[in-house]
């Protein structure tokens, strides 16, 4: 489902947490490491909370379990690429088998 706004460099997409362990320490560190490579501001929202995708500590406080739906919002020059990259991580279940 792609709802990325055409206006400006805003990109929003929803994603389902499908890996068994949810956004635990290892996925969180992968997200933060990848997010830090982009200039865009990236926020992950869910469960009435939104956190900075560049902060592993922040992502951990989200404690998103398997089956929860999250929203990735990015704004900035490379917003679209950033969201794509994070979506890939989710799709690959963070390397969990």
């Amino acid at each position: 489902m792609d709802t990325s706004a055409a206006a400006g460099e805003q990109c929003v997409r929803q994603v389902l947490v499908t890996n068994q362990l949810g956004l635990h320490a290892r996925p969180a560190s992968q997200i933060a490491r990848e997010a830090q490579a982009f200039a865009a501001q990236i926020v992950i929202a869910g469960q009435g909370q939104s956190v900075d995708a560049k902060s592993i500590l922040d992502i951990l406080t989200l404690s998103a379990a398997m089956g929860s739906t999250l929203e990735i919002r990015a704004s900035g020059t490379d917003a679209a690429q950033a969201v794509d990259r994070l979506m890939e991580l989710f799709a690959a279940k963070f390397g969990e088998k």
């Binding site: 635990h24 500590l57 406080t61 088998k97």
Partner: protein
């Protein structure tokens, strides 16, 4: 009398007399709050950034200087570096400087407090514990800001290093030749400080809760790694007494060390294998130096702890193969992951269990996480191509568990075959006997495996139903309880009837009072910490099998542990008075026992 005497847990034996130097301290809570004029805010922010950058550079350089054999510590440093770069810490502190117009110290403290609040409400125990890492890092930055960082290079002469807590980053930075001992306020029996100290052959105490209040920089202290005490500002008599003890200890060490490469054989020709328990590959040097004939227990958990991701099969296979190759042709027994209980790993979180010691741990945990288990099994199997490797499953309670674990191993080996990777198809398979259930069916289990290893630390706890870290019941932790002795004998006999080896790992194996009894049972192998090997080998070399068997018979005829302990102590002490001066036996609290 010394001004103060503080106590801690000894994780490395020996004595040291010298000057105390703190490398870090817990911060006092009353940090100065200062208002920063708007014009000076950018400067204050720069000061904060600089402190973060300095610590980051320090860590990065420590990380690069880590010798190859310590590469496991890299993961700890990687996690720490990640926290340093985290916008929720550094970024939040900078924002607070701007928004509140306060000094950097105050802003940092507040940023940490906010994180503590956010994390404190989480259910997940593992994630809550990550806060400790945040604390460790913010403390380092704080020390920079406050200008209380000690440059160790400026330390004159040899010193006793003290700290609130020592992380691998701290120890990498130390100049080891100047260190006579370690003492930390935090830490437990398995902490990194102990491993480091034992490797260096210097005394270390951890968990010295009063350390920071009792000791000042530059104080003269006596560190007693045998009695687990630190004497601050000792008087003349105490200094004389400990000088004498230190001298005797060194003589004793030299004496036992001289014969440590000789086989552990009794006067009447009975031979026991003496192997080592290790946790890190870097301990191999100590194993060989101290006369270890192999590794009877390689605890494989360390590669999984203190890191955020999981080790890969290749990473583990490299490490395991190195170990197998260095030790070859000597034996290395890999114990599969004993996680769960008090050791949890990042990727799985911690369960809320009322009774973790009896919960989802060891083989049970691995069976619940087949992929995690298979990765390790494949890595161990790959290492078997490079040396004399055996595998051992912990916490086995019944036949079905052994068969399922073996099936998993076959599966892993099949995969390796498909992938064209080499392994030893005949790798011996053993199990730990540490549950009373396994003791009772030892004869059945013996048909399934190539060897037994009796894990007495857990067996004692599960047999008498106590948690030995619980001070209210720890007096019941009695290795020579008649039930424990009968259990061990039962297992050894069952193994021998089936024609397999019986080995024993656990603290009992390094207790001079217990070893002669184990010998009487004709144990095939004992496995103990490398540093304890020379002393135990010396005891064995002076023993006679006929005497050991007679002692065992007498002991089995006793009806209470109190009687057994008295008998054993009198017999062993009469035989080896000089061996036992520097030894704190497991039997020491027997007067309270039943």
């Amino acid at each position: 009398m010394a001004r103060v005497i503080v106590r801690g847990i000894s994780v490395s034996t020996g004595f040291a007399i010298g000057k105390a130097v703190f490398v870090n301290r817990r911060h006092r809570s009353e940090l100065p709050r200062q208002t920063i004029q708007p014009a000076l805010v950018p400067e204050e922010e720069a000061r904060l950034r600089e402190a973060f950058a300095t610590v980051e550079a320090e860590l990065a350089s420590a990380r690069d200087r880590i010798p190859a054999e310590l590469k496991e510590h890299k993961h700890i440093l990687d996690s720490h570096l990640m926290i340093l770069k985290d916008p929720k810490l550094a970024g939040a502190a900078a924002r607070l400087i701007r928004e509140l117009g306060v000094n950097a110290e105050w802003a940092l403290e507040k940023a940490v407090a906010e994180l503590e609040k956010a994390f404190g409400v989480l259910d997940d125990l593992y994630i809550r514990e990550r806060l400790q890492d945040v604390r460790v890092m913010s403390d380092r930055v704080m020390a920079r800001l406050l200008g209380t960082v000690r440059e160790l290079l400026a330390v004159e002469g040899r010193v006793i290093i003290m700290a609130h807590d020592l992380t691998p980053a701290d120890t990498v930075a130390l100049e080891v030749s100047k260190i006579m001992g370690f003492a930390t306020a935090q830490g437990g029996k398995t902490s990194h400080t102990g491993i480091m100290a034992r490797t260096l052959g210097i005394p270390a105490l951890v968990g010295v809760s009063d350390l920071e209040d009792a000791v000042n920089d530059g104080d003269l202290v006596i560190m007693d790694g045998v009695g687990g005490r630190i004497l601050v500002d000792p008087d003349e008599d105490e200094l004389a007494e400990y000088n004498e003890l230190e001298e005797q200890f060194e003589q004793y060490q030299r004496r036992i060390y001289r014969g440590c490469q000789l086989p552990a054989e009794t006067i009447d020709g009975y031979r026991v294998q003496v192997q080592a328990n290790i946790e890190l590959i870097e301990e191999v040097a100590a194993v060989l130096d101290n006369g270890g004939e192999g590794i009877g227990l390689y605890r494989t958990e360390y590669s999984y702890l203190n890191r955020i991701d999981l080790p890969s099969e290749d990473e583990l296979a490299d490490k395991y193969s190195d170990l197998a190759a260095i030790m070859s042709p000597r034996k290395v027994i890999f114990r599969t992951l004993d996680l769960g209980a008090d050791k949890t790993i990042a990727s799985f979180g911690a369960l809320e269990e009322a009774n973790p010691a009896m919960g989802l741990r060891a083989i049970r945990f691995c069976m619940q996480h087949p992929e995690l288990f298979k990765t390790q099994l494949k890595a161990i199997a790959r290492a078997s191509a490079y040396g004399n490797v055996s595998i051992m499953f912990p916490m086995i309670s019944g036949l079905r568990e052994v068969r399922r674990a073996k099936a998993k191993l076959r599966e892993a080996q099949e995969e390796l075959r498909t992938e064209g990777k080499r392994f030893n198809q005949e790798m011996p398979i053993g199990i730990m006997i540490e549950l009373p259930a396994a003791v009772m069916i030892a004869n059945l289990l013996a048909e399934e495996v190539d060897f037994f290893s009796i894990g007495t630390n857990d067996l004692i706890q599960y047999s008498v139903g106590i948690d030995r870290t619980n001070p209210h019941v720890s007096y019941l932790y009695q290795p020579l309880h008649p039930a424990i002795l009968r259990s061990i004998k039962h297992v050894v006999d069952a193994a021998h009837q089936a024609g397999i080896e019986a080995s024993l790992c656990g603290e009992v194996a390094s207790d001079p009072f217990c070893v002669p009894i184990l010998m009487g049972m004709q144990i095939d192998c004992i496995s103990l910490s490398p540093q304890a090997i020379p002393g135990i080998k010396r005891i064995i070399r002076q023993a006679r099998m006929s005497e050991c068997k007679a002692l065992l018979r007498e002991v089995l005829a006793c009806r209470t542990v109190g009687k057994i302990n008295r008998l054993v102590r009198d017999t062993i002490f009469n035989k080896y008075p000089e061996e036992l001066t520097f030894f704190a036996s497991l039997l020491d609290n027997d007067d309270l026992g039943g």
